[in-house]
Symmetry: C2
Subunit: 380 residues, 2 copies
């Protein structure tokens, strides 16, 4: 397998009600990333998008965006894994270069959710017959997990507040973030209950965004940039689709297995990780991921947050540029934003959010109720 | 790049109103293919499906089907390229094994279109803003191309009839085909005009189906089967998205470019090809593909059909098991049916449809109005 590195990145600010169309957002980010890599052509474009079928009436968007970007003739395909879709695009672009099939590939994530009705479309990440038909959606499923967690471990009602506080604090200095507003324990706990016990401040927002990375073989990477970032591992694992079919619903087996596979491939231990871009679509999900891959003991993920060990300067900083909670979670684009942010951290360009002496970045992306989880590990 | 071979195949009959659900169809075909390859586990499942978002309310089907098939923990991702989606799944599974990331991969195509309203969902293969909003759909776009062709080359009204006649003749002996009814020149020309000048017998049907192939490294293939089929090349090329933006709308530049790339990779010439599984979703598309990749001169693709050179025993047999027209075109599954059929031909298991002394099989898959085209070349 050929080693693969990131040689260019592109982002536009996450916003609500973007003035541009989906295809324009995608094409703009492609241009930014290609300029960053200093290239004017590319072999392959892999697009991550979850909701354009319903919200834009488009089922052929990879080629539509390639055309808009003026990249006629190249490969263009779309890949999906529900809410982990951006990571799936990164993975397919990675395999394309790793195999030797492409010498340069763009992984683009793009989503425009703040028009139309995103909630019913998002719920299709669940089982239409056995979950959606009985009223479940992604919020209710995460609420189920949070209730179970509270009942099992006796976590106090405000036990997860620091996840939002950390994310919002980090977003303050990220110009691409949707929110630039500090949160306090009071403002989190005073936020509206959306679906008990989940509060508004436990949820990532509906928003629009696009981000991309350019991949090339590692041994050619310095021809494109002086600061390449090496993709040390890419992996996927699935779990039982429905939470109720799992032996231990609070152990995310897909996250655990995917992390084990990636760690082996990268030859990286848990302690080697400098920052963890976690899938904090809901605070409880971030907490369960930290436990499932071993950063906290079972039932103690929330204490990691309470003790501020997830904050900048802590032993496992998460959501270092605002996370899904405060940078925003434009689904198909999210993992590409996270990848760009890890690149900024590892190349020491993260400004006021810069963590000290970064070596290894970890990314996990969760599809649905964690039935599909992708893990990527990056290094310099 | 590691060489990749097909070591198992699985199909269920194409039908209307399948009695099983989409997930059950997918799981059944996975079991058939795994049994054919003699394996009980697999690293990766790549699923091709175009319409489940609208028709089944599912946007996370790869993992849903993995769960239904009892394959917990494996990789499961979905890949798309509009109406060429099945070929995109084959390609991603190919890259997965070619890269060394997976040692075994399933490419599964599955579609259940004969429920609900498939036509508006299918039209999303076009541009929502500039095509669908002004009334275009896939039938009207193909009718435009056929009208242009007739006007430019003076083809007689019945010039394409042999495409349907050949497809239906070949489907007679394929138990997986939807139609088992011979067509004559009269029955084709008496069929209803759907969208002038396109008649019902120029169109592939709405139907349900699922097909899969198992891929493994070529140098391990004989551990799985005595009759592996080598994937000599996999390629994709795009064209301008909309027909009206193309300099020469009757030259399918994506098909041509994709075929050139695949031929170079496989080191195979046009004359080496024993059979061509063409994307005959509409007769005019089959005709234009034959011209665009050089089997006929411009304006003479229909003569290839009139002279029966596309029939069994002809110099370029197409749709040898019934094609999209008569075996059926369950979108996301189609290219996987075609791949299975090429495997049957190349391993001399095609029964009454067996072509003589087969060496090389060619597959082309068309997304939308040929804005995305995938080419695969197979050999023994």
């Amino acid at each position: 397998m050929r080693e693969v590195s990131i040689v260019g990145i592109g982002m536009i600010p996450v916003r609500k009600q973007y003035e541009k169309s989906l295809r324009e957002m995608g094409a703009q980010v492609i241009r930014i990333a290609m300029e960053d890599a200093g290239i004017d052509k590319v072999d392959s474009l892999i697009v991550g998008n979850m909701l354009s079928d319903e919200l834009q009436g488009q089922k052929h968007i990879a080629t539509l965006i390639a055309d808009e970007a003026g990249l006629i003739g190249i490969e263009a395909l779309q890949v999906r894994a529900a809410t982990a879709t951006g990571a799936a695009a990164l993975r397919m672009a990675y395999l394309s270069v790793a195999s030797g099939d492409a010498d340069t590939a763009i992984a683009l994530g793009v989503e425009q959710m703040s028009i139309g009705q995103p909630t019913p479309a998002l719920a299709k990440a669940l089982d239409a017959k056995y979950e959606v038909a009985v009223g479940a959606n992604l919020i209710s499923r995460n609420a189920d997990l949070m209730r179970l967690y509270i009942n099992k471990y006796g976590m106090p009602e405000n036990g997860l507040a620091n996840f939002a506080i950390n994310a919002h604090a980090n977003a303050m200095h990220n110009s691409n973030a949707l929110f630039h507003k500090e949160m306090t324990r009071e403002s989190v706990m005073n936020s509206k209950i959306i679906h008990p016990p989940i509060r508004l401040m436990d949820c990532s927002p509906i928003c629009d965004g696009a981000a991309a990375v350019i991949l090339a073989p590692t041994d050619e990477a310095r021809a494109y940039t002086s600061q390449p970032v090496h993709i040390l591992a890419s992996s996927v694992a699935t779990d039982r689709f429905r939470v109720e079919d799992r032996v231990d619903p609070l152990m995310l087996a897909g996250a655990r297995l995917s992390a084990i596979r990636a760690s082996r491939r990268a030859n990286v231990n848990r302690e080697d990780v400098s920052l963890f871009e976690v899938h904090d679509a809901f605070s409880i999900m971030a907490c369960l991921l930290l436990e499932s891959i071993g950063y906290a003991r079972r039932g103690e993920g929330w204490r990691l947050a309470e003790e501020k060990r997830i904050f900048q300067g802590g032993d496992i900083p998460i959501a270092t540029m605002g996370g899904l909670k405060a940078r925003g979670h434009p689904i198909g684009a999210t993992a590409l934003y996270q990848t760009c942010e890890i690149v900024l951290q590892l190349t020491e360009r993260a400004g006021k959010n810069q963590i000290a002496d970064p070596k290894i970045g970890l990314l996990q992306s969760v599809g649905g109720a964690a039935s599909t989880v992708l893990t990527h590990i990056f290094g310099v």
